[in-house]
Amino acid sequence: MNGTLKRIIRSAPVAALGFLLSLPAAAKTLERPQRQQGYYLSAGATSGMVLHGTSDGRRGPYGGPGFSFRLGESLTRHFDLGVGGGVFWMYGRNQRSLNGNFSLEFTFHPTKGLWLMAGAGLGFTDFTRRVKGIDAITGRFSGEYTVAAGWDLFFGQRDPYRSGGVALTPMVGVRLGPASPTSAYIFFVGVNVTWWTGLPKNKLLLPVDRAFQPQR
């Protein structure tokens, strides 16, 4: 990876912060009910391809299965904030690796259902290469940066006053872990099941019969 790209990747968190700082902060504005509202919990299976950069040159690409999760909350109609992570087990000819990450994630919803996510956090790579019958293992902890996109396909009938719901979420993304001695660049696709809790009724614009339901 050249220096320019490294600098771009390193400056990504700063750009994300700047972007977030431009957000308006709502106080007590009541919101129209939406499906992507409240807290979200998303988990599912992924499949990825990894390319390693090592002191001996590039290794890969080769692939394997993985697991990912996301956890957070909608801040506004268009932005979410949360954490996420995942693990990949990759197997190739005479080489294998275990890659994982845990990141802060910023999500943008340009339209209903669709989301675009950028994340930064801590990642690890445990890369094993078999040379002449001996396992050579290198590994590292480092910064990890992820961009991904997905679509929440909600189950159930459309209810204009329903906040939250359960969705099937196909997604695709790229995870970058530039570090020495072993960098990892992962392309992944996956499907998650996502549960949006929705907002409590006191924060929603609702008709009288729903807004004034007894407290539980």
Binding site: L81, K201, F212
Partner: protein
Amino acid sequence: MRRVTLVTLVALSLAVAWSAAAQNAATAEKDSGEPSAEPVIVPPVLQQATAAVYPARAQEEGISASVVLEIDIDAEGNVEGVSVLTPATPPGYGFDEAAQEAAFSFVFSPATENGVPIPVRITYRYDFTLSAPEEKKPVAEISAADRSGQKKVVNFEGVLKERGTRLPLAGVTVTIFRGEGSVAVGYEALTDAEGKFSFYNLEPGDWMVLAESDGYYPLRTSDTVEKGRKTTVEYFIERGEYNAYDVTVEGEQLRKEVSKTTLDIEVVEKVPGTFGDVLTVVQNLPGVARTGPAAGNIVVRGSSPEDTLIFIEGVNVPIIYHFGGLRSVVPLGMLDSLDFYPGNFSSSFGRATGGIVDVRLKRLAPLKVGGYLDVNLADSGAYLEVPIGKKAAVAGAFRRSYIDAILNAAVPASAGVNLITAPRYYDYQLLGTVRPNEHHELTAFFFGSDDELKILFDNPANLSPDLTTAEGSTSTSFYRTLLQYRFAPFDNFNNTLKVSAGRNEIYVGAGDQVYLDLDTYVAQVYDRAAIGLGRNVTLATGIDYLFTKADAAIKFPALAKEGEPGGKPDLDTVQFTSEKDSITNALGTFLELEARLFDRWTVVPGVRFDWFSRVGQSTLAPRFNTRVDVTDQWTAKAGVGAYHKEPSFDETAEVFGNPDLGLEKAMHYSAGFEFRPLPFLTLDVTGFFKTMDDLVSRTDATTVRDGQTVPLNYVNGGEGRVVGLEVLLRHDLANNFTGWLSYTFSKAQRRDYGSSEWRNFDYDQPHILTLLGTYNLPRNWSIGFRFRVVSGSPTTPREGSVYSVDDAQYEPVFGKPNSVRLPVFHQLDVRLDKRWVFENWMLTAYMDVQNLYNSPNVTGYAYNYDSSQKRPRQGLPLLPIIGIKGEF
């Protein structure tokens, strides 16, 4: 046929407003048992209404709907604002917008209170119906008539509290209503000081309840009134935001210092990279050099760390950080704010030539029993505060680390170190305040701290070739009791007396081979009286007395001083000394005048007299600060002053140092300006120049003492100079953002005794840039960042080595002291906080990610056996820290 029905819950609105007076009267009667003397409120009456435009698509599809609006009516009866409380069903046809537009054209007769027009807010339902309107008598009138002859029996009462804090909410309107179509009835009540409200003579059945207040989400629920029974409820409404500092507004006192920054504790809690520790945040202010991640030093304007004093409510403490910077020894819950003076501080402070950090305790005035439990990867702490009546309160806190457990797991076996007692610390505090009236305030504060570390080295020779003891340990503990009495009998006079006493115990050593064992009793008396001499002149005077009695046993080699390259200690130079009941006194008095001239110009001349028994010297230090408010936005400022301090204890010890040493001296000069273009934005630019004389400097000379020729060790022969510029652009909390940009340019140099050349000071960092901020996001999230770029610190290069036959090892050959620099330091830290609000408590979780992009900052170099090769020692890697805090 298109028909628009305008009637309907006008009746409700009017009834609500009309009945408010009656309900309030009922509440008052219940509370006092006497007939009410509440004001008579006459509700607004709709005088002119404009029909809304029926949405075309809804009309075509034959859809009708209702919209509940909130209408703000001014004292003239005009509509000031309209908001949708409950939108139309189904949505998307434009009913809400049409109703709002129509409501804006309404004209009311104004509501009145005792005949005086007042602004009010009413709830109004707008019905869109395709059928002809029915002429109905407003239910409110029927209801009123029915209720007029009844005995008032409260059958629905409750209390309204803030969710999370349990604080009662006073002055909030609670509306109870029900009805269908145009048949509706409703009443209002205001909560009293205890958050209580009540309604009387409600008909049995289900009622809808609405409670609203500015800055809060509305409470909307329903409850049932049963015949012959009283319904009692407890409601909680949620604040729009729970970021602790969004409601803190404090008046600013007249400023008199040239260089002073005040940090509000709640503001700095979320600064990334500080673990919410206010004292660590000081290191991000202008004039403060960056130190190592666990150094715990505060290096101010090119002065050595020991030149800067840190006070907790005026009490000088031996350490302010556990283990050199991990956490400060007093938790956040006990503190109120922090004042930082990088120079030119008032004559009420003495015995320091660098800066002053003055930490102020919280002024206890809790409304309820409250506290918190804070759990993170480093330690856990608890805090509890309890009101005792309305004039007294107590608070207590305790904190204990478990870094020992983490480090034991983290230190690899190859490290050659076994942690017997891995770093562990605890601290404790007890605070009590009594304020019998506004003239007297008595505060008692007991606090202490204990740190301990024990290590078993696999190979102690790695530390020093002559070291044979495998076990090393260090411990620092102290406690203090402070009694503070503030007496303010008149507006123009106040006196504050502080008396404190306590003990410090410090031990560092490795078995019997090397150790430092210091046991010190400390007592301090401080009194400051200020009297106003007319409207614009205040005279302040006081005394500042410090007593210490020390028992010391020291067996140690010579250690590297400032400007000297570090290395393995040479145990051949170990010397021993012990002292018992060594008493020292330091007495200071000060006089300071504050004069405000022409309402724009503040002059603060002052003088301080100090006497130091250990060096047998006294000093008179004049100081002068001035500020001129050139315009409402621009302030010019300047200051000059003399400052003194004693050498450190080891420097005046007879064996290790020179008992004939005198005071170190400094002169501070500063000038600058402040610009406040916006109420929340301040630009502070200060240029400074500091000279230091009689600095303690090492010498190879000898002297004759008690008939024997002994090493002189030190003389007051060093000097220093520091010049620089500090810029602080500070954004106070506004628009959900708070933060600052701090930049320091400085050049700090020293000239050692016997040398003609100036060299760089150990912490000379010409450029220090810090940008930090915290932004409050919706849903009680906040995000903070800190970005730093700092010049590399000076270091002394190794130019080779020579083999020592005696020691059988290579001795490094050093180049010129501090003649090269480490690489530039840069690092980004990010912190994310999320608060969950429950009815009776709140939970905050945070993630503090230090060095987000894993910058490989170099903190020094490690050399091989003959100094022919070196590799960089890197600082903190990317490090995420998580923690939770529960508050109640």
